[in-house]
Point group: C2
Chain length 186, copies 2
Amino acid sequence: MSQKRQLLIDTALELFYQQGINSIGINEVLKQSGVAKRTLYSHFDSKEALILAALEQRHQVFISWFSQQISQVSNANEMIEAVFDALASWFNGCAEPLGAFKGCFFINTSAEFSDQNSATFHFCQAHKQAIKTAINTQLPTINAELVDTLCLLKEGAIVSVQLLGNATYVIALSKRNAKAVMASLN
Amino acid sequence: MSQKRQLLIDTALELFYQQGINSIGINEVLKQSGVAKRTLYSHFDSKEALILAALEQRHQVFISWFSQQISQVSNANEMIEAVFDALASWFNGCAEPLGAFKGCFFINTSAEFSDQNSATFHFCQAHKQAIKTAINTQLPTINAELVDTLCLLKEGAIVSVQLLGNATYVIALSKRNAKAVMASLN
DNA sequence: AATAAGGTAGACAGACTTGTATACTTTTGT
DNA sequence: ACAAAAGTATACAAGTCTGTCTACCTTATT
């Protein structure tokens, strides 16, 4: 794996995430990274290939960060706390590997590439599925209602904070919400 | 208000919503509507002005449709049912004024125009605020926790269904979730 | 019937976009 | 030391995009 290749992916991801994929041209990525155009096209067949590499990178970083955040969890209540504490630190820009919060890269990208047959769209679906699996795996017993609730609230929280801010309130509300669901399951 | 102007807005909204604003050029709107370019630029200063008009149109149609869907509501439980039944019919393409479901136009547009200072972004914020107000107004007593929960779950449901489908399940889950919150408030 | 307002058709300017080509330089492994 | 691999710099082809311009036509209203 070349250094230049990695530099291109890192630069592209940062720019794509912060400003949107369609707003960022290849030339901007080259300018920011200081890499030559020829080099980019020796590593990637097209802009789309670079986009997919950036999505893959974000997926790996996000899953890795998220799994670590919930790694100490051993019951449902701890899971609720861990998931939303993690989201809170992301929203507040304190989750180092994720950078400044600009919504979910995969939701945003899906909005830009709405064609449901595109490789891009499928990748975004796979990411959401992977998060669900990560939560499921960490729980001692299967609890589909809790996992689906957490994912539903997670998407809601991301979009709400992206649009209207107020991260602290949204996180607290989400926690109360998830706990109310847990209470209702008994 | 000219007929051509309205035709341009209707065509632009349909194309922008279904395929994304950045994917649709002015020329595509002209071709689909059969209107001349000169006419478009006599009604709108720029593409951005057309985008804002399309957002305004969507806002009016959506708020009007949504308000009607919850107009018979007289208590919290009915509100939960009405909100998610309305969303279900939207997701399934049965909400006539809204067209085929492609996520929330405002969330999608925010993802495309992520600059937080843009007129576009502010419009999207205002839309979300207006939905919250509509719910609040229809309830007999103030219940901020319920209203905020409904809005949070609504965003989560929209994004979840947009990405992974499964509308029926997501709606049922959201209803159980909201009812659990209501139960926890006593 | 005349005039003003609104519309059509399409060429085109200018600024973008992605991706290719040419010619040269640096780095790296053996 | 030297050959192969990788990178630089930049011009350019071919396409996109928005927005303007010219020239002509239709439709109301007075």
